[in-house]
Amino acid sequence: MFSLGFLEDFGRFLLWVPQVFKKPENWTMYYKETIRQTYDIGIGSLFIVFIISIFIGAVTAIQFSYQMAGTLIPPYYIGYIVRDMSIIASAPTITSIVLAGKVGANIASEIGGMKQKEHIDAMEIMGVNTSAYLVLPKIIGAVIAIPMLVTLAALLGSLGGYIASVPTGLFQQSDYITGLQSFFIPWNVVMMYVKAVVFALIIGFVSCYQGYFVKGGSIELGEASTRAVVVSDILILIADYLLAVLLTV
């Protein structure tokens, strides 16, 4: 039963995606909508990304400091660990998982609500390709905004580690700064951006799909929003694993 439902969804998704990439009816309208979506996703998620990144950076610094206490590992390694943890793992993955909850649920309920209130039918009657007009700007908005948020998350993670350890006397500022500047591998930043773009596509497509094909009433709309988050999270984790394997070969 589960696999049948999955195959049905997958088949419908494959048939739907080409509609999303049809030529826009009016470039200006699509451009305006893309700017609005980018703003909503980006600015609307700043606060949550700020809080999460600072605290994850802080916790990483404190935990590693605790685990390395009494070992021969030099203290400046803390800065190095916090930086690379942020860039490789927490900034793209944790941020995207959180954004799947915030942005993904929002997108699914927005489109699903439009479907239920016949807004999508009304646009279709006008001759608008709703698969493109309602979905493409959100996908582009996510692909622009999420890598920016991930960049910010990586920087704030390192800042969080600093705030939690240097002013509290856990270790010296010079050690932390030295750690941040040590063993830097530019490829890790490339990995971070590849992950951010892939995760943005997952959040965008899954959430739009769940909203666009919602049936029934408010209970089904709630279920669709939940499904958007759960499916996005699972796919992000699977993609994270696959990208980790592919990009570190």
């Binding site: 209130k117 009304a122 009657i125 001759g127 390709n129």
Partner: protein
């Protein structure tokens, strides 16, 4: 002209439409009437291309809608306006933005020209000066009129109305009927209204088809309704004892 050509529609074992043949004439107010569950909404959705029939064809003049691709259907829809039962006004847009939306999407006009057209449409539905308000800030009757204004903003050739009077008081319902009828005459549109409002039938029914259990059981116009001996139509239009009495008296008085 729009023609339903032997339309069948089934959902599983449930046959909702059973071979509907009917011509919706240009320049006339065409009504699809029938009790709840008769198949009116399904027929309207098929006519407008939101649903595919299980069998049969829908002709827009000489073009068979059912044989067109999605992109070709969208081209036809540029000539279609529709008023939805729940209005389907975009609630996060102002009234002006709602009416302007089809122009923003498909017309290369200056913003001044678009505003002029919006003002004209609002004036036509007697709602001048509400451009900046949101749909939630106006009454149900006003929302219907805004829906009508949006439906004819691009001068469509075909106008579809799904239960335009639902949820309205009788006086407002008559206003809406008159508005749709006069716009139809003014622009020579093919207007198709899906309704179960008896007043609409008697006021604006120039070409009527009555559906019952998915079958077309009667066709005619408002003048033929009073004299009908069709039992289905009688039980639909003159459902209450009061109306039955009134009809008897009218017939007796010639």
């Amino acid at each position: 002209m729009i023609r339903a050509d032997n339309i069948f529609k089934s959902f599983g074992d449930n046959d909702v439409l059973k071979g509907i043949d009917f011509t919706f004439e240009a320049g006339k107010t065409n009504l699809i009437i029938g009790k709840s569950g008769a198949g009116k909404t399904v027929l309207l959705k098929i006519l407008v291309g939101l649903m595919k029939p299980s069998d049969g064809h829908v002709w827009y003049d000489d073009v068979d809608l059912c044989s067109l691709s999605k992109d070709q259907i969208r081209e036809i829809r540029m000539q279609v306006g529709m008023l939805f039962q729940g209005n389907a006004l975009f609630d996060s847009m102002t009234i002006e933005e709602n009416i302007r939306f089809p122009m923003d999407m498909f017309k290369t006009m200056t913003i001044k020209e678009k505003r002029k057209r919006v003002d004209f449409c609002l004036e036509r539905v007697s709602l001048e000066g509400i451009n900046g308000r949101y749909p939630s800030e106006i009454s149900g009757g006003m929302q219907k009129r805004v829906g009508i204004a949006r439906a004819f903003v691009l001068n469509p050739k075909y106008l579809f109305c799904d239960e335009p009077n639902s949820g309205l008081d009788p006086k407002t319902a008559i206003t809406i009927d008159e508005l749709i009828s006069s716009i139809t005459d003014e622009y020579n549109m093919t207007t198709i209204i899906n309704t179960h409002d008896m007043n609409s039938v008697m006021e604006i029914g120039e070409n009527i088809c009555l559906l019952s259990n998915g079958n077309l059981v009667w066709q005619g116009n408002k003048d033929l309704v009073m004299e009908t001996d069709n039992k289905e139509l009688e039980s639909f239009i003159f459902a209450s004892p009061f109306l039955q009495k009134l009809r008897k008296r009218a017939l007796l008085n010639g």
